[in-house]
């Protein structure tokens, strides 16, 4: 099987999730089945606007090895304007972040397999006014 990052490129480069047309609920990451409607699910793929607000956040001071150069960094729960809540890195000074802050999605590097390995790209967030 292909590595997960390869398989998930479509959903990581863009915020592509799903919507259940039966109950109008949006999901990210995408779901094959609506947990509310079950067999009545009518799942379609949707692209989110990338706009949202910070529901809650953590400032990470004890970082894993591959994120040490970015500490302190912020991992936030972001409520997209369409409804789903996603966990993502918020790229801004840790003194700037606050709950309710408006944010937008950006395309960033989110890892690499060493200096000779593949580079991973994904969606992160920045303050909306940037």
């Amino acid at each position: 099987m292909l590595p997960r990052f390869w398989r998930k490129i479509k959903y990581r480069y863009n915020l592509i999730g799903t919507k259940c047309e039966n109950c109008n609920t949006y999901y990210y990451p995408p779901r094959n089945l609506c947990p509310k409607c079950r067999r009545k699910s009518k799942i379609v793929e949707v692209k989110f606007s990338g706009k949202g607000e910070v529901l809650s956040y953590s400032v990470i001071h004890e970082a894993p090895e591959n994120m040490k150069d970015q500490k302190p960094y912020i991992v936030a729960l972001i409520k997209l304007e369409e409804g789903p809540i996603i966990t993502a890195q918020l790229v801004c000074d840790s003194s700037e972040v606050k709950k309710g802050m408006k944010v937008k999605a950006v395309f960033r590097k989110c890892g690499e397999e060493g200096s000779a390995g593949v580079i991973y790209y994904c969606t992160k967030f920045v303050p909306e006014n940037l």
Binding site: N14, V106, R108, I119, Y121
Partner: protein, 346 residues
Amino acid sequence: MVGIVSYGTYIPIYRIKTEEIARIWGENGETISKGLGVKQKSIPNLDEDTATIAVEAAREAVYRAKIDPTHIDAIYVGSESHPYAVKPTATIVGEALEVGNYYFAADLEFACKAGTAGIQICYSMVKSDMIRYGVAIGADTSQGAPGDALEYSASAGGAAYIIGKKGVIAEIIKTVSFTSDTPDFWRREGKPYPKHGGRFTGQPAYFRHITSAAEKIMEELDLKPSDFNYAVFHQPNGKFPVRVAKMLGFSKEQISPGLVVPYIGNTYSGSSLIGLAATLDIAKTDELILLVSFGSGAGSDAFVLRVTDEIENFERKPGVWEKIEKGVFVDYGMYVKLRRKIKMGD
């Protein structure tokens, strides 16, 4: 009519002042800043590279164009700092723009003029009806060796241009290139920093190529400098574009809207294209613009553009100068960390 349908730019948020770099190397910052005409330069964040800059600029261009991304049939990314030596940046951009899979794509390298080379390719493909829209991007996170003169100017940024026939905001009337084998600046395979011929290469490289391309295109179209509302020349520093404008007979007023290098440095493949974007930000219907890029090695691509009335309803906010003003300054210690110049332990 074939021309620019849309454009977008991206400039990373971090800046470092020329004085701060000079402080570390025991140089006089004020003298260097005045000598180069560069007050500060942009720096990419740790999670930014040429691909992320290219994607952000291209997304802005697609958003402003209000076109279906699947109508983009070609993507060319010009850079001298592609994240991979082998594996294209253009495919990353194509996936991020959701253009589908049937599109022409390649990465280009021609020092600082690879972006305008991409525009020429898209222009010819649109003109010959091979494609509907083509995206040409010039983006770089350029490198200057610590302590080298380039360290004061080598910066990061990019611009993306959508070339097409429908909804043209600036018609490409003509393009001309002047090219010669001139080893003024180079980077060998596997080497982290470029090398250059030093202070006396300006005349045979930058000035010769830009003036030759500019004079040729004006001669072929029977135009003179005073016929143009604006001119944009490649901006390796703040002095060269001003001097070449004077040599050709252009005024400071004609080049000042697009002279961004004093505030963001030399964004290499993005340089003249960000300058053009800043100029298009204020351009009005029927205005004439001369664009001349320069890439070491060496070559210049000249374009004569006529702005159409489509620009009046084209979304141009946030403008390039607004993005330039949003900089956050860092010290040299943070700069070397952001540019990964620190040798880490295993």
